[in-house]
């Protein structure tokens, strides 16, 4: 069975479209998108008469017609940012009201995910490809509803699902605590408890694919820059200080149960593979803002990772 795994697309339209096409190009039987689906920025496009203006990180954009507006929106969206078209007074209102911005963020996330699910249905219905899309720690709970009710896309979060060939997919999108206090964070104890329930349910470790957004602690795939209270990167002697930011609970579960394979994301910088006992753990990293989809393609058999290759599409 051939499984393609990617993670952390953070709202990037182009990356999601590439993810769907991975089934055909890489001849994958199963697609898994392992969390952090939603974007981090909302770009207000201010309408003024017939023209539309936006400013993205200090650079102005101008569209003089709806056709041009479509192109501007597509370009901004390809980078994982959401857009909202507003009048000048509405924009000023948004600037003064964080709650309103928050509401718009949620709306944009849910609408975008609904669009993605619809796209997946259009492209993959009847193909026989299994598609698993799981929210991660950055994704608000409200987005779960967008992943429900599809006959093609399945949200595997906090569940065990039997895959083709008798493999068991045990998934969890939550992470251990981060400096950002993101929506789906659990203490290490809570994580351990949830994971233990999942792996017990999955049973035979030799057929278990552990799809957990956060990587195991103390491995080459969980190294992230240290941050201070203001979220600034900590430097010592001009050198960025790196620390292990993975989960101790995830590591403990892998050490104790030795699943066939671990699929992880969360830390974009730490692409790689780590071996914990008999378990191979992968983090393909993420470079979503460049429009490139990082992933890993695995050929799995009962009790054996037959092959793997990292992709950069």
């Amino acid at each position: 069975m051939r499984l393609f795994y990617a993670s952390d697309v953070h709202g990037s339209e182009v990356c999601f479209r590439k993810f769907l096409n991975a089934a055909k190009v890489y001849k994958a039987d199963v697609l898994v998108l392992g969390g952090d689906l939603t974007g981090k920025a909302l770009v207000p496009i201010v309408r003024s008469g017939e023209s539309y203006r936006a400013e993205v990180f200090g650079k102005p954009w101008l569209a003089r017609s709806s056709d041009e507006l479509e192109k501007v929106v597509a370009t901004i969206r390809s980078n994982g940012f959401y857009t909202v078209v507003v009048e000048e007074d509405e924009y000023e209102k948004l600037r003064r009201d964080p709650a309103l911005v928050d509401e718009l963020f949620t709306k944009a996330m849910v609408e975008t995910l609904r669009g993605w699910v619809k796209l997946a249905e259009e492209r993959l219905r009847g193909s026989g490809v299994e598609v698993y899309i799981m929210p991660g720690n950055d994704d608000r709970w409200a987005v779960d509803e967008a992943l429900e009710g599809s006959d093609v896309v399945v949200n595997p979060d906090n569940r065990v699902i039997e895959l083709e060939g008798g493999l068991q997919l045990a998934s969890l999108g939550a992470s251990n605590p981060t400096p950002w206090k993101t929506p789906r964070e659990l203490t290490e104890e809570e994580l351990y408890s949830k994971l233990r329930r999942l792996v017990e349910e999955a049973g035979d470790p030799s057929v278990m694919v552990l799809n957990v957004h956060v990587p195991p602690y103390g491995t080459p795939i969980d190294l992230a820059p240290a941050l201070d209270e203001g979220f600034r990167v900590v430097r010592k002697g001009g050198e960025v200080e790196m620390l292990h930011a993975g989960s101790r609970a995830v590591r403990r579960i892998i050490e104790e149960y030795q699943p066939l394979v671990g699929l992880h994301g969360h830390i974009h910088e730490s692409k790689g593979v780590a071996k914990i006992g008999r378990t191979l753990c992968f983090n393909p990293g993420s470079d979503y803002s460049s429009g490139a989809l990082k992933g890993v393609l695995l050929t799995l058999e009962r009790g054996r990772v037959r092959s793997y290759v990292f992709t950069y599409g």
Binding site: H10, V14, K18, F19, N21, V25, D36, K40, A41, L42, V43, P44, A54, E55, V56, F57, G58, K59, P60, W61, L62, A63, E68, K71, V72, T75, I76, N79, F81, L104, F105, N137, D138, W180, T182, P220, L223, P225, F231, V233, K236, G237, G238, E239, V240, H268, K271, G272, V273, D287, S289, S290, G291, A292, T299, S307, Y308, V309, F310, Y312
Partner: protein, 543 residues
Amino acid sequence: MDEGEGDLSDSGSRGVFLREATGLVREAGWLDILIFASLNISWGLSAWWYFLWGPYFAPGGNLHLGVLLTTVPMIFGALAWALLVTIAPRSGGDYVFVSRILHPLLGFLSSFGWIIANFVWVAVLPSYVADPAILTTFSLTGLEQAAEFAGSSIGILLIGILIITVSALVTILGLKAFRVFQAACFALGVLHFAAIWAVLLGASRESFIAAWNSFSASYGSADYDTIVREGLRYLSETYGADASYTWSVAKALPLMPVAAWGLLYPYLAAYIAGETRDVQKSMIIGIPGGLVLASASWWITGALLERVVGYDFLLAVAYVYGDGLGLYKLPFPPSYFAFAAIMAPLWLRWLIGIGFAAWILYYALYTVFPMSRIFLAWAFDRIAPSFLADMSERFHAPVKNVLVTTAFSYIMLTIYALNPEYLAGFTAMIPQISTTFLFTAISAIVVPYRGKTKLMYESSPVSKLKVAGVPLISICGAVYAGLLLVLLYFYFTNPGLGALHEPSLLTILAAYVAGTAYFYGVKLYRRRQGIDIDLAFRELPPE
């Protein structure tokens, strides 16, 4: 739409609402890239080469014009590298984009060519720490016996082993040690030039002649006037060359292959693109910036040498020394820094000598460090064994990878120390120019038009950079390719440049054949394991 064309990278700004979320942090900035570029050019070592062999290979060719003729097209080359890594900001350099844009085999051979050349450089360059750096410094400070040892085969071997070992340790100790070592070398190197410029600014032709004559006499070497007279006479009678110093472009063109020995090399930072923040800005400032600074340092040094030492002397001493006329009897080769140092007090001679060595000391490090990135990229693409991608838990560095690189470096150093003729440094440029650089230039030309990478190009800010409707990256690639072809013409038509050294060329050719066989062998082996490594190179269409 217009005005826009923004690089939508992860940084804050007015007009955009952000929320707190996890994300990628890249650590190297434009200054790191600039230092990388400057050190890989090695202002000092390549200036020594240029001011010694430039007049030799281009008698009468204006040294400033030679710098300009090489620098201007090379700025396009530097931009081609910067723009390519902006499109594919992933560590691994040319291997990454050539394999994706042109063909996986060409990507592999491109980085393979780089590795072959760098195994030659890693043997040849540390030996320059022994001779001329230590040899000249010890001779100028009265340590004749130590100088003699440094210049011997065993001296070169031991000094080379020491440098390679220290480089390996620094790499294993991590990026922090690397940066401290790099910054120290760069600072000492800049001080070296400051000291030389200060000495030359305070000197006159007369004071130089007096210092030269006095120093030469102690070794029974010819005086200033004799060298100029006999050197120019020999040049005229033996080669029939018109040595009048003019701004003739035709006369300055043969300076290009000598200048290229340094100025062709600002690209190194491309290998850490995946670890660089604001890639476009950092690379566009850093890579061409390092090139321009190097050229400026040569320009200033050349102007001061012309005023104090005189072009005729530079030309004559190159022939007197190069063709072994028996008039030059100093224990070290002629160099711009020795010319300045003989007029300097003892403490300044030490600074000048150590500063020159600093322009070479880090080189073994610069071979080991990017090579670890190439091996990592190969390992991730399943072309190289997985252990090469292993990161040590203890050191957070690819220790196994460094050990393999270091072992090869020792072998190459030993070969060079025992038989210096076998590994000709200039020959090392042939594989680099004809694969690494030329494939990069071609990648830059075609990237906007190639179906497989067109999308990646179009979604990057590089696609917005056009001149008269033509993609800037293609223009840069074309000018760069033109420069490389001109250089290959010189290297292949002038045997004196040393690039056509038969044993070296045959070794390189054999290495390429072996590399191609390895690539297809691995492909077959992986296929039997159920891995199609071509998938690693395939871009996914979004539609």
